[in-house]
């Protein structure tokens, strides 16, 4: 997974167009809509996944923090759509553990594929805190980091967890820094990301 296109989950046109840019993964962002629109966005995204299929890309859902009611609803609702993973913003291992418990609960009560997480750690996290974070669950399939947190790449790589660069980032810089792929909010940048990463490091 080298190119990730971030899509506002409450933007019907982008939900329709997202799959056309050739991204390896589509990250549908439920944190973008205003609080009052999040219920609608969840339903819209669920319907879009059911209708459009997105067969050419992996589906990732960026959920609100599992510490919040919205975050819980995001994961519970969209787990039924069997996304590849949920992106979870977290400041510490407690949040990951809460998400882990939620995932277990969902998997026991309904038929879904295995729930995975992509962690988006807080900016202020320490090296030690990052290590604890990525060890907090076996469901962590990747880490989503801005370029200025690239110091964590070697820790993540040591745990065999790939790291995707969060926007804004120059894809060439991201590759040079050792990221496995890069995300963008602009579909027009996907080709460039694919090109730069096409020689390939480890994908997710």
């Amino acid at each position: 997974m080298q190119s990730v296109l971030i899509v506002n989950a409450n933007d019907p046109k982008m939900l329709l167009d997202a799959q056309l840019f050739g991204a390896d993964a589509l990250m549908f962002d439920l944190t973008k809509p205003d609080e009052a629109e999040r219920d609608v966005a969840r339903i819209l995204l669920q319907e879009a996944v059911a209708f459009l299929g997105y067969k050419t890309a992996s589906i990732i859902v960026r959920a609100n923090s599992p510490d919040t009611e919205d975050g819980e609803m995001d994961i519970k609702t969209l787990a039924q759509s069997n996304p590849y993973a949920f992106v979870i913003a977290c400041s510490g291992a407690e949040t990951v553990k809460r998400a882990e418990a939620l995932a277990q609960e969902i998997e026991q009560s309904s038929v879904t594929t295995k729930i995975r997480f992509i962690l988006a750690p807080d900016v202020g996290i320490s090296d030690e805190g990052f290590k604890v974070l990525i060890a907090a669950s076996k469901r962590i399939s990747a880490v989503f980091l801005p370029a200025d947190m690239s110091r964590f790449i070697h820790i993540s790589s040591g745990a065999d967890i790939p790291v995707i660069a969060a926007p804004p980032v120059n894809p060439q810089d991201a590759r040079d820094l050792g990221f496995s792929g890069a995300a963008t909010e602009n579909g027009g940048e996907v080709d460039g990301i694919n090109e730069i990463f096409s020689e390939g490091r480890c994908g997710v």
Binding site: L16, D17, L20, F21, G22, N186, G187, G188, D191
Partner: protein, 513 residues
């Protein structure tokens, strides 16, 4: 009767005449005779310069029922059509045939003349959506409008099918004997190439200028031996209006994606090579294709033979970078192109006839490798509509669409598959402008369809990573997302006749209900 595309067309259309049905893109060629030209001799010392448009009209011998012609190089900044038609209306003339190469939104003042019967017929080959198009769509013109192509108009003039009684040429620089050019002066708009056949074949030729220069004007684009009268006015137009519509590269990521895919297709098909020739329209996606093709040409160190058609700053830059050896210009789409036309001898004018007239000894479109075209609708036989919206409203004319499609080696239509809430690929287009036999590829955001007639291209691209699918698949995908629309209903009233470039009738536009 039905023409070769199965379009239902009457044998005789009131206000138009007997119909020659379209019978195939190349079925109506062969030996042709050009019309004779009426010329009035001038004696030494006789003055051509007159004091007002009214005086010119009086001297021209204009009568009710005659045809007056204009060109559209000032595009949406043009002031000549409105000034002349106001004078004609004020002088009490009626039943005038307005034969303009292009009509734009700025020509809204013509609508009352259409409603009152001053103008009863309109012929055009470039038509921007706007009040005049609306008036014609709604049946206000007494005779059906005739929509031709850029090559079809000079063919009609030179063959005598469309006889021009008085031609008015907007001249950004002109001397008192009628030598004129389009590239100098405050209203410089670039070469006046659509007006060349008017200048040669009209009974009376009038240069309308706001920039009278000392004799002789230099350079001379249209020569004094063709011009009967010269009239000085305050303004012939606003050149900033040339940049009307979309003459900027799209910023829409999806359209940029279409452009990238198109350029990749052109390259994979082997057309990016030394000596290549290329044309795009001025739409945002077409310009983006030009920008992408430029990247390939730079990377491959390719020098093309020429870029052609309406010339825009992207082609000017490519000429300056040495990516083309020259440009063939029939109109300027922006002011950078106007400057280039004035300054760069490699930026050459071509007459509308040289550009696309099928009844000549060879037009430039026949030398064209790759043409990028737009579409409002495409049907599953690759027939294209650029004239009407799906609701039947007139939105354009062919322009160079069917000329370039017929002549070029690779005619590519680029469009979004979904247009508003409709799928661009239909069972049958609302109006056919360009026959599917001349379209090679359709590139959309949801995939590429190659015309099954192009077996060579299908074979060449079969192992590429391009998203190639069938046109039927595109239609299914689009209609799954948009649903299948109810067909638009039309009355029996024909509001416009769409002529193919060879003068046969490819379709008619009926008034929507």
């Amino acid at each position: 009767m039905k023409n070769a595309l199965g379009r239902d067309i009457p044998e005789y259309i009131v206000g138009y005449g007997y119909v020659r049905p379209f019978s195939g893109a190349f079925a109506n060629l062969g030996l042709r005779t050009k019309a004779a030209v009426k010329v009035r001799s001038y004696v030494p010392g006789e003055k051509k310069i007159l004091s007002s448009i009214e005086e010119v009209i009086g001297k021209s011998g204009l009568k009710d029922g005659m045809t007056v012609s204009f060109h559209h190089h000032l595009r949406n900044g043009d002031k000549v059509v409105n000034q002349v038609m106001k004078a004609i209306a004020d002088m009490g003339f009626r039943n005038i045939h307005l034969a303009a190469s292009g009509i734009f939104a700025c020509h809204e003042p013509l609508v009352p003349y259409i409603e009152s019967g001053v103008i009863t017929q309109v012929s055009a080959n470039s038509f921007n959506r706007g009040p005049v198009a609306q008036a014609i769509t709604h049946g206000k013109l007494r005779k059906p409008a005739i929509l031709r192509s850029h090559g079809g108009r000079p063919r009609a003039i030179e063959s005598g099918e469309m006889h021009i009684d008085v031609a008015f040429i907007a001249a950004p620089a002109c001397d008192e004997w009628g030598n004129l050019n389009g590239t100098q002066g405050k209203s410089a708009c670039g070469y006046l190439a659509y007006s060349y056949p008017d200048a040669v074949y009209a009974d009376v030729v009038v240069a309308v200028t706001d920039n009278l220069v000392p004799y002789p004007a230099c350079p001379i684009e249209i020569t004094q031996d063709l011009v009967d009268y010269v009239v000085l006015v305050d303004s012939i137009g606003d050149p900033s209006g040339i940049i009307s519509g979309t003459t900027q590269i799209t910023t829409d990521p999806l359209n940029l994606h279409i452009a990238k895919t198109t350029a990749r297709l052109i390259d994979t098909a082997g057309y990016i090579k030394d000596g290549m020739s290329f044309q795009t329209g001025a739409g945002g996606t077409s310009l983006a294709v030009a920008a992408q093709v430029r990247e390939y040409m730079l990377a491959k160190k390719v020098v093309g033979a020429f870029g052609s058609g309406g010339i825009h700053s992207y082609f000017v830059n490519m000429l300056q970078e040495g990516l083309f050896r020259c440009l063939f210009d029939v109109q300027c789409f922006d002011l950078a192109a106007v400057r280039s036309a004035a300054e760069n001898p490699k930026h050459m004018a071509m007459s509308a006839s040289m550009y696309g007239n099928p009844h000549t000894r060879g037009s430039v479109v026949n030398n064209l490798d790759v043409m990028i075209l737009g579409a409002t609708e495409v049907d599953t036989d690759f027939n294209v509509n650029v004239v009407t919206g799906s609701d039947g409203t007139i939105m354009g004319a062919s322009g160079g669409h069917n000329d370039c499609a017929a002549g070029s080696k690779l005619a590519i239509v680029v469009t979004n598959l979904l247009k508003g809430r409709l799928c661009a690929v239909r069972d049958s287009v609302t109006t056919v402008t360009t026959p599917g036999e001349t379209i090679d590829v359709l590139v959309t955001d949801w995939g590429i369809a190659i015309n099954p007639r192009r077996i060579d291209l299908i074979d060449k691209l079969k192992d590429s990573k391009l998203p190639i699918t069938g046109i039927g698949e595109l239609q299914k995908t689009g209609e799954r997302l948009t649903g299948k629309p109810e067909p638009q209903k039309f009355s029996d009233k024909i509001v416009a006749v769409v002529e193919y470039r060879d003068g046969t009738v490819i379709d008619v536009v009926r008034q929507p209900v």
